[in-house]
Homo-oligomer: 506 residues x 3
């Protein structure tokens, strides 16, 4: 028997019932259809001819990207909600070829100190946000205002935080029974603090190297490799888009899945990922993600996803099923937030600008609060702005939760912030006694046993409880994992240890 | 060339080779076919007309549910093994429409203190197990006997456990060098202990609120939002089915995936999820779940799944490939278990009833054992009942493991229970010395440094080792993570600390 | 309308756009096609006739395996890169039937002390690597040289490590205020150290047992069940292939997914899995694995996978898109590694042979280094061999990373190894003072509070930092989780505790 497929019969069946699959097929057909027609530039073709052999993984990854399948000029023709480019101010040549090796690694040569002669082409090793801004101008502009873009200097140029770095990652030697500290090496900084905050990538010279393709010369870079959010690039720009859109697929899907944020936002200091995993949102994500669509730029609630990932609440374009924008896409991370849960050493209103180096508290210290919790208000957003942002966040929650529910949730959070700050206050008052008694000295605030217990109180435990509260879940985390249990336990230990130390001094 | 699809040729190929895919298609076709024919009640249509806009996520979630695609009357017609409803005693009107907003939020109005006038309808905010029992009577009846249903009072009304709550989540202030404790707030209780155990949801009044749809009045609920297992509802019932069947899809798939149980059963106190992740069972699940079927009510071993999740052993209907029932579905969690691994402070036979408030040990304390380990036998199941349950569990194991293997496994578990109880005994004996010496007082058994170390011994470490043993895996967990290493380390620390404290007292 | 599928039109569309799906279909069609033609031996048919009922999970699992769908004789005909068998020296009868129950459990009867009479057949309970070598000779030969194969005696026969076992898993009793230790039980050893290292499986006798199928006799095995890498089998062979190819599917897919290695290689002592999860490689894996192919024996970079799992770098056959071998498959785990990051107590060159029992350091102790860090060079690979292996590893990295990038990465690792070893040195020097002062005695090096802090320094923290460095990621792990923070904190605690103990002794 011959099966006759009638239009509107079998095919409708497929379209109705396996939409993700079909969309994928249509999408891939579409793009691969395009691809054959699309022009790969001569320069990129030259790159590919060698790199297809020497670094095949990079090339294969790129071939799965939208970049390899669309020209900027076609990308601009897409309807606004699904368009991912944000400037048309781009030269004709670039606009008419797909976004290949040379289109990115050959940009803005004059400002790139890492530019070098490579088989007849002038190539930049590092592709920077300034280069990406060629097409993605809005995203880069937004990003440049975020705390992420300024993550290096916000940390390293702050003398208080610098003490914490020293106390955490410096080597010790034992000299006649006394522990002595040396300065952290740049190599270890790269693997620890700066692994998330970013390195300063600098050209240190040039070197000759035997390669598979013969002798070649390459710039020698310090602070490399690094793909962290605040990277200072050899063209003077800040950031690395590849932090969240990794390698050469530049995937929106990867950036929206929670594993990306989880590279840095995890326990014990910023346990967003750990809390998410234990939350109801996380439960639904892990159970059902395979039925969702992470690629639709106009991310539609209820259709493309049924529970939020990090990106949903913090930066994605979120759209209702009837096409209304619930939240506009932003790459100014933090701009949707009203309170900074991350205690330094107390929670506080979000800073006005991503560059927090200028903030001074009432004691003149470069901290957003004093040691007793008073805000450095000049550098922090106002109550009105806080209210505006909270209100906008509630709109996102309301997509799936009644107003009653959402109000109840944020009341809890408000109280939790207050209580954890109060516990940090008590721990800090105890430290005041410790320092006054000279049992520990204040040369470095973070390097002795009791001081480290105190750091745990705000950097690990108070933070954890606040994250658990904010993300609607993880009661066990807030209680026993790195939460209330630990905060009360450590307070008792601090108190006892203080007595032990006084005793041994006698 | 024209490809002719002969029946029994190409299509058979599809059916044989991509069964999950095809089943899904058939299922979705089926249900969406049904859906168009199925009647949505007038009341629910009214709900949808606004909520499609104000909370589109809820509506979209519901549209993916079985509830939105089947009427109770059709559900009852399914063959027994795949039927998920358990009473026919339901009025005709309800039976003939799909299970929509109003069918659940409009039930048993008179007993719902949270019922309120909402656009011409009388609506309950909270849907309770008593409401779900309209169709799922057996499940709710079983559940009402479980420890889960009584999770609030079992914890909060127990004066010993109450001390532990106080010691864990109360705020401290430093008053002239002395740490003083206040009572835990209800808000923090909600986010910690009661986040898993459940809150008492009470109507506190009524409030006017500006909404997107104009001014409205809503009941003000305390203890809300909360979706925990022992929730006390405004209609007097216990539990929240949405704990495990979250939001408005009421999915059996989500409940069977381990992420659901992982919301509460995780380290450091109940590390079922952590052990599962490190176990062979977990390894196979994470590697192969995408080829399994989590939706077949009659969950068939070897066909629908190849390694157990939590639900397999603890409550799902498990069926052999030839259709024989290996284990009947139960919502009386714990009813398949013979021993309670969770040490309070020792392991012990499972309690006879989910309400454990009446249990008294030989010292008159509300605990299942004495501080030296003697059972409060009156409230605990008998040896015969233990044997019967162990035997039933072995039947599940035998689905994939030889009797030899299974016997060897449970011998190990038996020994581990004995050894960990013995280690808790040693730690407790040390505490007796501590309390006798008055280094720590017994006003609260859990609030001082050494006491907290002792709590770690049974609540974190002994429990962890037992869970690792019970779930056939996680040797590293049992050794180093929260296991033997920690138990021996903490014992040494307790011993030293005891000496330090005696010294500082002098 | 009749849809006419023209060859080279619709089908090309499918092949281009859903390659994984199609490959899967073709693969399954292929194998199921074969299966109907393939011969199941008479013996295996007899096994199946009962075990289909008594252990249906095992049978169903086997039916999904390649073993159940191919004969050795056909397997040998596959082209070299996709062939998974490695000897043709196999008798005709075995070669002509699919690999069923009897083909594995009926091998080499005379050397199997666990062989027993079972319904007319002579059956081995345990299938050993020697049995698997019937077809997979090269794999077993390679494996037998690995540290994994010798994992039991390397641990248990080493008197230093034995002290660590005793200190970790032995029970304690409190005797007149003094903690006394007993010897670890074999049962607890099985669940902890030997759960990963392996047990010695021995036949202890025979027992009669009532089963579902009537009275039967079975050998009684000690050390059973166990599926760990160094298992000593009743035929004298070492290892358990099912450690990584679990149960009866013997899947290459499961072995290549990281959950398999994660059963043993996890925090706090060997945190490979934990670091992977937080790394860029892990992020990409978790986001994109569902589009990859884990079953192609000739695992093709960029096509079958786009980011490495453990198996990629450590043992799989890795092939470039143009078919060149980047790395040959090996089951000698560790043979691709130049340095052993796992500190005992310092990092050191990999041992020459998997059997490390003969290694002696310059102080005559059975350790790869002295307590001051000098190598036991005789038992460790040379600098040249280290260089050769590092170079081979770089070739794998170069698949996706430029040489610049890779060089920078390994420079960092080199420095981190040096710094962490130096921190362990400082901690050990402090211990020398502790032991000299007689505050702790050296009867057991690992059983007192300060000693346990010292063990944490190298076994948990230094290891963690090195793993985080080696696997290109996890900066937070290296800093705060089990890393630099903890190493510096514990050093301060050790120093203080030393003083407290001296004080209490006075």
């Amino acid at each position: 028997m011959q099966v006759k497929l009638k239009k509107g019969d079998r095919f409708v069946f497929y379209f109705r019932t396996v939409p993700v699959c079909v969309l994928l097929v249509v999408f891939m057909l579409g793009t691969s259809g395009f691809a054959s027609a699309k022009q790969i530039s001569q320069e990129t073709s030259a790159c590919l001819s060698c790199h297809e052999m020497v670094t095949p993984g990079i090339v294969k990854d790129w071939r799965t990207s939208l970049h390899s399948n669309i020209t900027p000029s076609d990308a601009f023709k897409k309807p606004e909600l699904t368009r991912m480019v944000s400037t048309q101010d781009i030269n004709k040549k670039l606009a008419s070829v797909v976004v290949g090796c040379y289109e990115c690694h050959g940009l803005n040569k004059q400002s790139h100190k890492d530019n070098f002669e490579h088989n007849g082409f002038k190539i930049n090793i590092v592709v920077s946000p300034k280069d990406c801004a060629t097409c993605h101008l809005d995203e880069v502009t937004q990003y440049s205002n975020s705390k992420k873009a300024h993550a290096i200097k916000n940390l390293v140029q702050n003398p208080v935080y610098s003490q914490l770095i020293d106390a955490t990652i410096s080597q010790k030697i034992l000299d006649k029974g006394i522990l002595k500290s040396s300065k952290p090496t740049t190599s270890t900084q790269k693997e620890t603090c700066l692994g998330c905050h970013g390195t300063s990538v600098k050209v240190e010279g040039i070197r000759d190297k035997k390669t598979q393709m013969g002798d070649m010369r390459f710039p020698v870079l310090s602070g490399w490799p690094n793909v962290a959010v605040g990277r200072e690039n050899p063209d003077g720009s800040l950031g690395a888009c590849t932090s969240c859109h990794p390698r050469h697929s530049f995937s929106i899907e990867i950036a929206r899945k929670p594993y990306t944020c989880a590279q840095c936002h995890l326990d014990p200091d910023v346990p967003a990922w750990n809390v998410y995993k234990e939350s109801k949102h996380g439960n639904i994500y892990f159970s059902k993600w395979h039925e969702w669509d992470f690629k639709n730029p106009s991310w539609t609630l209820g259709k493309d996803f049924k529970a939020p990932t990090c990106a949903t609440c913090h930066n994605s374009q979120v759209v209702s099923p009837d096409g209304n924008t619930i939240a506009k896409r932003t790459h100014d991370f933090g701009s949707r937030l009203w309170v900074r849960l991350f205690g330094l050493i107390y929670s506080h209103p979000q800073p006005k600008h991503g560059d927090t180096t200028k903030i001074r508290n009432k004691d003149g210290l470069p901290l957003p609060t004093t040691l007793t919790g008073a805000y450095a208000s000049d550098g922090l957003i106002s109550k009105d702005e806080q209210q505006r942002r909270l209100s906008a966040m509630k709109t996102i929650c309301n997509g799936c939760h009644s107003e009653n529910w959402v109000d109840g949730h944020f009341q809890k959070l408000h109280n939790t912030i207050k209580e954890t700050d109060s516990m940090v206050y008590t721990s800090t008052m105890l430290m005041m006694d410790v320092w006054k008694s000279k049992v520990e000295d204040k040369t470095n605030l973070f390097d002795e046993s009791i001081e480290k217990m105190w750091v745990r109180q705000w950097l690990f435990y108070a933070n954890s409880i606040r994250y658990a509260s904010a993300m609607t879940g993880a009661p066990d985390y807030a209680t026993f994992k790195n939460g209330w249990w630990n905060m009360n336990e450590t307070l008792q230990h601090m108190n006892d240890w203080f007595k032990f130390k006084r005793q041994t001094r006698r």
